[in-house]
Amino acid sequence: MLNYDIVIIGGGPAGLAAAISAKDSGVDSILILERDKELGGILNQCIHNGFGLHTFKEELTGPEYAGRFIEQVYDRNIEYKLNTMVMDISSDKVVTAMNRTDGMIQIQAKAVILAMGCRERSRGALNIPGYRPAGIYSAGTAQRLVNREGFMPGKEVVILGSGDIGLIMARRMTLEGAKVKVVAELMPYSGGLKRNIVQCLEDFGIPLKLSHTVVDIEGRDRVKAVTIAKVDSNNKPIPGTEERYECDTLLLSCGLLPENELSKSAGVDLSMVTNGPVVNDSLETNVPGIFACGNVLHVHDLVDYVSEEATTAGKNASDYIRNTASASSDKQVKINTECGVRYSVPVFVRPDKMNDKLTVRFRVGNVYKNVNLCVYANDTLLMKLPKKVMAPGEMEQVILLKSKLNEIADLNTITIKIEEA
């Protein structure tokens, strides 16, 4: 059995930032476990630019952004193992992992930081009817084939879902010589960032059809055609609105799911909304000493926020080890999310133990224009932020001040909601 103070599961943007922050907070015994052959996670296949605008005030590519953090990991001599799959995490923080050279190893950690990222929703999970030929890829799989291996997965493409990876891949496939015929989106709004709609679709004349879904896939061996149809307000296809597109490829960009199978094995409670762990203000789960950050916690829109969140998790994990922060016995106040606010991270706040400033992140469930974003402590209105537009594709945040919360007598709930202006 190996022993480390902090074991970090995943060497993507979240794991890297968490490791750097934990080290800088004074913990030396840190191990990053990464299943891929290099550090950097999914950023390694995101060769487009636009990363790091907040963190570095520069437009970096994914590999460049990851590279800046990887350098810092090297500089600090933080240990990591590549090609290493974590097989199990127990509730007493024994991590079982495996690779070719070490075989099966067991590591007793004082704290664990979950940073495994997310996976894409598959065709099967979407229940798209039709045949099951080759030529149906999740956008991320296609991205890996094109950007890392140099292989084109198709020539004529239909994309279902307007998530960011799908939008990015619409542009990439076009640049690499394919014809992207249409992007269909089930919802009446896009699931991606506004800037990606403009830069990846509009600039290339690719039509985006909102409130449309795929109702049939043709082709026994390879995709021959895809039929899309308009949907009604219950997302049911409307007969007679079908449009058939001949194509050889269907890309799916229909949402990301935090990958929490390991978290479950450790006894971590998950949110039904985010599919990520339920955490308190220190990003600690219900299992003492197990922290979470990045897309395994909730799906982010910008990697800058992943890094920021992971930095907090790393710092808090080191505080936990040095016993400056204890967890479960503290008074916790739940953040309720209502009226259009789908969830919040964190879910629980410890008014006595929290940092002076706490960033609470969340997403809304629809497109809202000219509304007020309101935060209540018990029944007291803490803040009222006028918002021109809020959309599900963009993550929102509010900052809670410890001083303000501590002014409220008998604080028992915090509520975030959208109110009409």
Binding site: M85, M98, M104, R119, E120, N127, T141, L145, E149, F151
Partner: protein, 478 residues
């Protein structure tokens, strides 16, 4: 190429017959139009070893089902195929006529099914708490089981191959001519000559039969659509839950699979297209309300894939097994729909026995009865696993993260007899790509492994054979 027996179709039936024939001193081959065995009806069904109370007493179906069920334990042990007699319920609800359950019970007894019982709700609910609130009683068949149809079919074929049976894959039969005492089988490749022919061609058994025999046969493709749920839903029921057959059909089943997923289906629709393996919005949409009649709260949020299979339904509703009345030396194994998987071992023994007797084959003394499956490292202890990785580091690399399948298992699937050449073939042998991400992460890596191990360029790696390649070219050159 000249054979004593040519079997057309490498599904579970053809493979079972091939294995049984490989006990004899005879030159046997199997002709399969797809790139792998288990690529038709055998790959998409309910994966149930039925107890045998369904078929009408006296039919071939009833006989084969009960015999096949009894043979399954030894066969699965010999061939290293996981099999679990998890037991089945046929449930009767408030609004249904429970005398129909008694009919099934009596039918089962007459067919020779053991240990059948009728249980009342209070007892049932202890065994299966998620039964629908309207369920009042059920027929309990403890001999019913679950199995992986890929595993069984591939094991039978591998064992047959090890015992000398040749397999011609990617070989489609175009015509059959009888010349003197032998058959000339025209294919898309070379002609194959055989003294005897076995027709195990699934939904195409009628077309194959009509090439050489005047016996009338009609096989209808009856589509069944299914949804498969994640392993997190796999314990929702522990038995296979059938519904009481009614005018509306046999109803749908809800069952755990041998690998721990939950399976719901099938629909039953006759389709004119024998390649009609597409799912439909209506078909998939019908499963949730239908399954709710027998099992409540099926967590449909956990669906990871849906698929359709085609049953080879013979219009007279029975298996056709044995030498054709019209054409001597032409043996039928046709109309093998449910319970075909359960019956396959018995069909193999019965038909191989008949062929050996009529064609005068003697048993060989070096028949290899057992076959070892692909090693599943997850069944090993930590120490054993370490030993394995030391000997073969490929077992230390996880390729499919959802099902935790190692590179070692994938290489084994490629290198063994009748080895995998496509992603679907790897998937059926190892489960790589069969988990919740549905091969999103592992497909590029599995492609690389096949390419490397078989020395095939990446552009030729396919989902299921020619025409289903994944890659259409390199960047900027398409």
């Amino acid at each position: 190429m000249k054979y004593d027996v040519a079997i057309i179709g490498a599904g579970v039936t053809g493979s079972a017959i091939a294995r049984e024939l490989s006990r004899y001193n005879a030159n046997v081959c199997v002709i399969e139009r797809e790139e792998d065995v288990c690529s038709g009806t055998s790959k998409a069904n309910s994966a149930i070893v039925h107890a045998g109370f369904d078929a009408v007493p006296g039919t071939v179906k009833a006989l084969m089902n009960v015999q096949g069920n009894e043979m399954m334990d030894k066969l699965c042990e010999d061939l290293d195929v996981p099999f679990n007699r998890n037991g089945a319920f046929v449930v009767c609800t408030k609004n249904q006529d429970r005398s129909a359950l008694d009919t099934l019970y009596k039918r089962g007894i007459e067919n020779g099914v053991k240990d059948l019982k009728i249980l009342e709700r209070d007892e049932l609910i202890k065994m299966e708490p998620n039964l629908a609130d309207d369920v009042t009683c059920a027929l309990y068949a403890p001999t019913s089981g679950i199995i992986c149809p890929f595993n069984l079919t591939i094991a039978l074929a591998e064992n047959a191959n090890e015992n000398g049976v040749d397999f011609f894959l990617n070989t489609e039969v175009k015509d059959i001519k009888k010349e003197n005492d032998s058959f000339i089988i025209k294919t898309n490749a070379d002609d194959i000559e055989a003294k005897a022919v076995v027709n195990a061609a699934g939904v195409y058994a009628d077309a194959i039969s009509h090439m050489v025999s005047s016996t009338k046969m009609e096989i209808i493709a009856r589509r069944g659509q299914y949804m498969l749920l994640d392993k997190t839903a796999g314990t929702h029921v522990s038995h296979t839950i059938f519904q009481l057959p009614s005018e509306m059909g046999k109803g749908v089943l809800v069952s755990p699979t041998i690998h721990g997923n939950l399976l719901v289906g099938p629909t039953a629709e006759d389709v004119p297209n024998k390649e009609g393996l597409n799912t439909t919005g209506d078909g998939l949409g019908s499963l949730a309300p239908l399954s709710a009649l027998s099992v409540k709260d099926v967590p449909y949020r956990q669906v990871i894939t849906s698929f359709a299979g085609l049953r080879a339904h013979e219009v007279n509703d029975d298996f056709i097994i044995g030498e054709d009345e019209d054409t001597k030396g032409f043996y039928q194994a046709a109309g093998i729909e449910s319970p075909g998987l359960s019956s396959a071992p018995a069909i193999g023994v019965a038909l191989a026995g008949e062929i050996a007797r009529k064609e005068g084959f003697a048993k060989k003394d070096n028949f290899k009865e057992t076959r070892k499956g692909i090693l599943n490292p997850a069944t090993l202890s930590l120490e054993e696993r370490n030993e394995l990785i030391k000997k073969n580091p490929a077992y230390g690399t996880i390729i499919c993260r959802c099902e935790m399948i190692t590179e070692g298992e994938i290489i084994d699937a490629i290198k063994r007899p009748l080895g995998a050449r496509s992603l679907d073939a790897v998937k059926r042998r190892t489960r790589a790509g069969m988990g919740r991400c549905q091969s999103g992460f592992c497909s590029p890596r599995t492609m690389e492994i096949i390419s490397r191990e078989c020395n095939i360029p990446m552009e030729e790696i396919s989902k299921h054979g020619k025409g289903s390649e994944f890659i259409v070219g390199i960047n900027k050159e398409v």
